[in-house]
Symmetry: C2
DNA sequence: TCAATGAATTTAACACTGTTAACTACTATT
DNA sequence: AATAGTAGTTAACAGTGTTAAATTCATTGA
């Protein structure tokens, strides 16, 4: 059965090749320039082959988005294991958010349907996202035990502030250097977390 | 010369018809569904006519974006005339931001390239946006006179928080009713403004 | 060894997109 | 009445997502 094994491995490889190529084109030319035929060309196949791996372009984008959330969730978990102090935890999680957005901007764009990236599938509802939400909510709760609604409110606020500064930093990156935006990001989130006490 | 006058008036009307139809389709079906032919059909013309008014789809989107910023700028000005207290001014401006985003979501989406809306033209650089930035910066300055850099930083923060909560409210509107999101918005911005003192 | 099966891959097509050139129909002027 | 100019159309090009049909090719069975 090693033939089947090898077959599956190369199948997994071309699958990853499709995902990689899509992100690669998006990074270089923007998501509006990503087309099935371009992807197929890059991996030396014809267009219909892509549909052997992803039922539609939308599902391909959804997969890339899901990978993004999965990656972030693992980073969240890593941080939770690394630190015990809730403040430190939330701050490090905030920093990871920034790091991720600027190291993998194409993925971040698909996750939030930004800048030409557009995936019809609802952004919410993935298990990874719910797990991330729980981690952050628990962290907030652990140093200010309040009602469920209050915690949810603070979580929503935290997420909005983080996402807001990240997206505005991307939009204004030509008028305001990202180094400066990053300082403001750290500053604002540090203050937000401090005020939770 | 009244013939020319009438001609120009109807020309202006079809121009507005194009803009209106584009926004109308976007509102109903999303920006990804907006096509030149659909717009042309709706105004009972053939597709090339649209190009008599806008050199490209991108420029049409740019125009809609510019209109959005122009509208907001006028609202900013109205508020500046209506109130004298800097805190009140900034708070009302914040509220207008929210109101605009949810009353004209298609326009807001084009302005920030959200959810399938994509206009290549740089978001920044319009006169209206610079004017709005100045109004907000002056308002912030008028009750905490600090260095130019500090004011810019606070302005950036304010904009990010506002935009962040608005976009997250749109994304999460199925899991969290917008009424509740609006409360959090008001709350957070009130706190932000209070902490400026 | 040859035929047949099955899978892997491609070609061709459909309906759509933005965009432009060529064409038609009509109106106003000389 | 002939001409010029304009308003609007059709037709086309290259590209898009997507699917069905056709093709190629290796493997199996007799």
């Amino acid at each position: 059965m090693e033939v089947l094994e090898r077959k599956q491995r190369t199948r997994e490889q071309t699958r990853q090749g499709i995902v990689f190529t899509a992100k690669d084109i998006a990074r270089r030319e923007g998501w509006q320039a990503v087309s099935i035929r371009k992807i197929a060309d890059a991996i030396d196949y014809s267009a219909p082959i892509v549909y052997e791996y992803f039922d539609s372009k939308d599902i391909l984008l959804h997969e890339i988005r899901a990978e993004g959330f999965r990656f972030l969730r693992e980073e969240y978990n890593r941080i939770m294991k690394l630190y015990r102090d809730p403040e430190k935890r939330l701050y490090e999680i905030s920093l990871i958010q920034w790091k991720f957005a600027f190291e993998q901007p194409e993925t971040y764009q698909v996750m939030y349907n930004l800048n030409g990236a557009f995936c019809q599938v609802s952004i919410c509802g993935t298990l990874d996202m719910e797990e991330m939400a729980n981690l952050v909510r628990e962290t907030i709760f652990s140093f200010i035990p309040k009602s469920k609604e209050s915690i949810q409110k603070l979580y929503f606020e935290w997420w909005s502030i983080s996402h807001g500064i990240i997206t505005m930093s991307m939009i204004l990156k030509d008028q305001q250097p990202i180094e400066q935006s990053e300082i403001i990001y750290r500053d604002t989130l540090r203050r937000f977390i401090r005020n939770l006490r």
